[in-house]
Amino acid sequence: MKIIVCVKQVPDTSGVVAVKEDGTMDRAAMAAITNHDDLAAVEAALKIKDATDCKVIVLSMGPAPAEGMLRELLAMGCDEAYLISAREFGGSDTYATSQIIAAAINHIGLGREDMVFCGRQAIDGDTAQVGPQIAEKLNLPQVTYAAGIKVEDGSITTKRLLEDGFMLLKMSRPCLVTCVKELATPRYMRVSGILKCYSKPLTVLDYQTLKNDPLIDDDTIGLKGSPTNVYKSFSPPSKDVGVMLDGTPKEAVSALVALLSEKHII
């Protein structure tokens, strides 16, 4: 059995966020981290590996610096890593990205016992779309928002979060699960893992390697091919600071709540 975990390196939006003059994110100026939901997915896979000795493969689509992240995931205990990196793939939206990642998963090979884990959503795009779209491309049953995973013989049971509760869902393998942060607390790398990580296999998959997969449709990959594109981007108006609401308590509260509602804060 093997588990392929899709991970993304993202800018740390909880820290200082740098915005360029043209209104786009200055990714280079921000710390790069592994997306939190994805780390939970990796940890879930490693827990299953601890119990069953299965193989855990991490897969990421990104520019060269993502290799550093993959090495750290190998240090955490994953067995192999793949980095999808090609000029042709740059600027892809979720539709384009998911077909590329699906093609990469085909290249790695998905057997009857295997599973694909993804994080629910990445903190830069916040779309939560790539996981389900990979599942559709690979014709896999899916469960999203998994806060619990139990692997049984031939099937898996997941605890899927709803806003006010959860669903317990069972499906057979191969399948795809998207994981929320709450699923697992990622383990620290051990020194012994750090010492081994550079000798574990890390393969770069480029356009030449993947282009012949039937899933790759040149018409819908990369910046030009993506079905959705950015029409305009802009910084939201800066947040209010030191705004005092005057009047009687009733008036002040009224004004405050109106402001908060207008700004979608509540």
Binding site: Q142, P227, G242
Partner: protein, 367 residues
């Protein structure tokens, strides 16, 4: 008819996926119909609601008509009683392929975010998630930009087009992006609950809604996930550190600490938040130390931090100043907390908080 998502002109109509759970239509559906109505009017086309479930009635359809739908596609089948990715995706995609709407809106609930992307992938089209604003008309879009951005709108070139302009936050809300899907149809968009305004109920629209009972083609073999259990869970005790909202009490509640804490807790509950406290309150024994926020307590960065009767000494601020939106209530207009907050009310916590809780609940009911 072979479905071709690139044949733009063949697609007409605005559709809204109307989510229901346990036979109750969720309010997001009404919000999206209200919004969809505006788009349909801009385009001069029909607005249709798509309702899936089991044991649905014409009453359900009428409710959707009352919020703007011209027509409701009623997809009633035992296998659609509870949401499954496979069941709902198949029925919806079959319907979209048959009728070809140009716009399809889905509520960004936990379920919508499972369904939307799967459908978009199957329909070979683009999906934009968590949209906060939708525009058809370029002139209206320009007005929107003038009000909400720092772009010099009058000196910027805009392509004239009739693509749906879908605006959404990215990078944790630090950046706004307007997305279009020019080459494929339907243009799909998910919208979070509470973002769009619901229009008033229109009894005439309700009575006049056209109901199209869909012949659902669905078999058990089409569904690959088994539902073992569905459970509602009471809200759990959330950790201060991961909390979305923190409502903290300080020395200002000393005159009646029990009531002060109760008021704060009620406000916290209304906002889905957690109760925090300043060191003074903990030291005085009014509340346990695990609620303490500050230098010697916990450091929090919630989306909303409400400081009630807290002066804002540096040790407390060190624990919460990174919060996105800080709201302070204090009787002392010179309290340092006001320098660190986004919004402030000079007043007595005991007067202000009950009013605030009431107002918050009222707003939430509308959503």
């Amino acid at each position: 008819m072979s479905y071709n998502s690139k044949d733009i002109d063949a697609f007409k109509g605005v559709w809204v996926f109307c989510e229901q759970r346990n036979g109750v239509i969720m309010s997001i559906s009404y919000q999206l119909l209200s919004e969809g109505r505006k788009l349909a009017d801009d385009l001069g086309v029909e607005l249709c609601g798509v309702l899936l479930g089991s044991g649905l009635s014409h009453e359900h359809a009428k409710a959707l008509g009352g919020y703007g739908a011209n027509k409701v596609y009623l997809c009633d089948h035992p296998l659609l009683k509870d949401y499954t990715t496979d069941g709902y995706t198949k029925v919806i995609c079959d319907l979209v392929e048959a009728r070809q709407p140009e716009i399809f809106l889905i509520g960004a609930t936990n379920i919508g975010r499972d369904l939307g992307p799967r459908c978009a992938a199957r329909l070979h089209t683009g999906l934009t998630a968590d949209c906060t604003h939708l525009d058809m008309d370029v002139a209206k879009y320009k007005e929107f930009l003038k009000a909400t951005s720092t772009i010099d709108v009058d000196n910027t070139v805009f392509e004239e087009n009739t693509n749906l302009k879908m605006t959404r936050p990215a990078f944790g809300g630090h950046l706004m992006a307007t997305i279009i899907c020019p080459r494929f149809r339907p243009q799909m968009s998910t919208v979070r609950p509470g973002v769009m305004q619901t229009q008033p109920f229109d009894a005439v629209g309700a009575a006049g809604v056209a109901i199209d009972p869909v012949n659902v083609q669905l078999a058990q073999e089409d569904i690959h996930v088994e539902i073992m259990e569905i459970k509602k869970v009471a809200r759990q005790m959330v950790d201060l550190i991961g909390a979305d909202v923190v409502v903290s009490v300080g020395r200002g509640i000393s005159k009646n600490p029990e009531e002060g804490i109760a008021l704060a807790q009620t406000l916290a509950d209304a906002l889905g938040g957690v109760l925090g406290a300043s060191r003074a309150v903990v030291d005085a024994g009014f509340i346990t130390a695990d609620h303490q926020v500050g230098q010697t307590g916990k450091t929090v960065h919630p989306r909303i931090y409400i400081a009630l009767g807290i002066s804002g000494a540096i040790q407390h601020r060190a624990g919460m100043q990174e919060s996105e939106c800080i709201i302070a209530v204090n009787t002392n207009a010179d309290a340092p907390i006001f320098e660190a907050s986004s919004y402030g009310i000079v007043g007595d916590v005991f007067d202000v908080v009950p009013l605030l809780t009431k107002a918050v609940c009222a707003i939430q009911k509308d959503k």
